[in-house]
């Protein structure tokens, strides 16, 4: 029921958060989403429209109350926690607004941790991490702690961490939200190049039209629903495939 190049499909996704005794927020109310392999997609929409929520559900970090999630042709929303951990470690890479590096670990260790969680031995993880770090142009910064790196450098380490296990999909929640315009452009162009060079799928939540413009397609959300964007509108490129 999935075409082979659909990497991720969410159908009829509902999510509601409880605020008080009889007080709920419906963060998602039947959202549908489909991501094709190798795409670079932006998710836009007003604050509170459910962008982060759907991204967490797409990344198996959270479960929908209702609806289905298919990843690489496999239904995952009913899987147990252990199975979801495994999927998250191997198939998904996350990039966050605040970088979310572990402050006590060096750049290299932050990346190798992700490889270890995906099952690599300590030595293999270190080797992969060094390669990933070199790929984002930070080979000389392996031993630096996050606090010793600039925002742009930290986000590059986070990108390397997201990519170290060659995941099916990289999910970013406002990855340039904490960066200045120049650095933001640098990071976006780096992700675009990785997308084109390796065919890695990117899904980026953003408020920034300039960031969205780099993406091949834009998904709009409002009030917990997806208002599908027209790929033709995306000025950044006409093809998802690099």
């Amino acid at each position: 029921m999935n075409s082979p190049d659909v990497v991720m499909r969410g159908a009829g996704l509902h999510k509601r958060y409880r605020l008080g005794k009889d007080n709920f927020v419906n963060a998602l109310r039947g959202a549908n989403v489909e991501i094709t392999a190798g795409e670079m997609v932006a998710i836009m929409g007003p604050s509170g429209s459910g962008k982060s929520t759907i991204m967490h559900i797409m990344g198996c970090l959270d479960r929908p109350d209702q609806g289905e999630i298919w990843l690489d042709g496999k239904r995952v929303d009913r899987l147990g926690g252990g199975e979801l951990n495994r999927i998250r470690s191997r198939e998904i890479g996350f990039i966050f607004q605040g970088f979310n590096l572990i402050p006590t670990l060096s750049a290299l260790e932050n990346i190798s941790l992700a490889a270890e969680y995906a099952g690599a031995s300590r030595r293999e993880a270190m080797r992969k991490a060094a390669q990933a770090l070199a790929d984002v142009g930070l080979a000389g910064w392996a031993g630096h702690r996050p606090s010793e790196l600039s925002g742009g450098q930290q986000q590059r380490v986070a990108i390397a961490r997201a990519l170290v296990n060659a995941p099916s999909m990289v999910l970013g929640d406002e990855p340039t939200g904490d960066l200045d315009t120049g650095t933001s452009r640098e990071i976006m162009s780096m992700m675009r190049h990785i997308n084109q060079d390796t065919g890695t799928t990117f899904v980026l939540v953003t408020h920034n039209p300039e960031v969205a413009a780099v993406c091949a397609r834009i998904i709009y959300m409002r009030d917990g629903l997806v208002v599908e964007g027209d790929p033709g509108q995306a000025p950044g490129g006409s093809s998802a495939q690099g």
Partner: protein, 386 residues
């Protein structure tokens, strides 16, 4: 390395927590070493008393019964199943024994009649044992070597009398370590002049006195049964067989050991609570880090293992430093005590290993709940946490 780095993220707090464990283990080591010393003393006594019956003037009758007499030897030897009787004089090294910590040092003179039958053997580090016919000679226990400044060939002063050292005993970890052995006749003389009041002295022949008689039963005879029989025959004396000795001693040591370990365990439990507190705070402070790790796909097991290993390291560091501190204390206290012949502490390997292992497992135990809390955090909420 990563574990240690994480433990010492909050240096002061980690150090205080470790210090708490250190104190607990220190208490366990020091008090345990005291209990170990006593246990060994008691074990030695139990072994010594296992195949014999001792007769001494009853403490209940005071001097009413007067000191025992060597004349009793023949009488005792005629009792059925008694193979041999041997007299000895046991007195404290100090003429006036004040209150002291631990066991007082002893001077013992035996008539050596039991020497062939004695199963409790002591080896010699230097020199030889006393022999029949020796006079003015002494054998020194290992804990008294320093205090007496003893060396084979040297002269030492025991109760103001000079003795030539002919032997130095190997450490036995029991009573002989803290004793000096001299010939029976010399012991009689000292005891007669130093220990007996004037009135008693005028009524007694110096060569007849003895403070204890050791009975060696015939082959295959139950010493406890023999002790019972002799007790009925001579109720005015204190008759002690193996069972009676053990009963007297173990009830006393059991109370002591219970108190000692009770105090140490309580202080360690307090240390354990502080580990729980530290780990709970650490988990709380690192909520976001836990969210990150979960977003990277860390399993419950991995998160639990991470925090458990941190609390185990706290326990282990605390345990090792407590052991080192305790060991230092024991070495200093024993060498100070050595000069006065009161070695009170004995740090045994099982105590050392046991204390550190206990701290280690306490660390793990204290980390269980905080780690479990960390593992079941909701990753999305953990990531939102500021």
């Amino acid at each position: 390395m990563r574990i240690i780095r994480n433990v010492f993220r909050r240096k002061l707090r980690a150090s205080l927590t470790i210090f708490g464990i250190t104190i607990g283990v220190f208490a366990l080591v020091v008090m345990g070493a005291m209990a170990e010393k006593i246990t060994l003393l008691v074990d030695g006594g139990t072994r010594y008393f296992s195949d014999k019956v001792t007769v001494s003037a009853s403490s209940m009758h005071g001097f009413g019964a007067g000191p025992l007499s060597v004349n009793k030897l023949q009488e005792l030897e005629t009792i059925d199943d008694v193979a041999l009787a041997s007299a000895d004089i046991t007195m404290t090294l100090e003429k006036e024994q004040g209150a002291s910590f631990g066991m007082p040092s002893l001077v013992i003179g035996s008539d050596l009649r039991g020497i062939e039958r004695e199963s409790f053997s002591v080896s010699f580090r230097d020199g030889r044992d006393l022999e029949a016919g020796d006079a003015g000679k002494a054998v020194v226990g290992s804990d008294l070597v320093r205090r007496m400044d003893a060396q084979v060939g040297n002269t030492i002063t025991v109760r103001d009398r000079e003795f030539e050292v002919v032997g130095i005993m190997e450490k036995t970890f029991t009573m002989p370590d803290n004793s000096i052995f001299i010939p029976f006749l010399d012991a009689q003389e000292i005891f007669y002049h130093d220990n007996l009041p004037e009135i008693v002295r005028t009524h007694i022949d110096m060569r007849e006195i003895t403070t204890g008689i050791t009975l060696y039963p015939e082959e295959g005879v139950d010493p406890d049964e023999l002790a019972e029989r002799i007790k009925e025959m001579m109720p005015e004396y204190d008759i002690v067989g193996p069972a009676r000795f053990e009963e007297q001693v173990t009830s006393a040591t059991r109370i002591f050991t219970t108190i000692v370990f009770g105090v140490a365990i309580i202080s360690l439990l307090v240390g354990g609570l502080s580990v729980i507190n530290t780990m709970t705070m650490s988990v709380f402070e690192r909520t976001r880090e836990i969210g990150i790790r979960k977003s990277l796909g860390a399993s419950h097991g991995r998160i639990i293992r991470q925090f458990l290993s941190e609390s185990a390291v706290i326990g282990l560091i605390g345990g090792i430093s407590g052991l080192l501190l305790g060991w230092l204390f024991i070495v200093v206290a024993n060498s100070l005590g050595d000069a006065s012949g009161t070695v009170v502490f004995l740090l045994t390997p099982r105590l050392a290993v046991g204390s550190v292992a206990f701290a280690f497992f306490l660390g793990i135990l204290s980390g269980l709940y905080p780690s479990w809390r960390a593992a079941r955090m909701n990753p999305v909420e953990a990531l939102r946490y500021e």
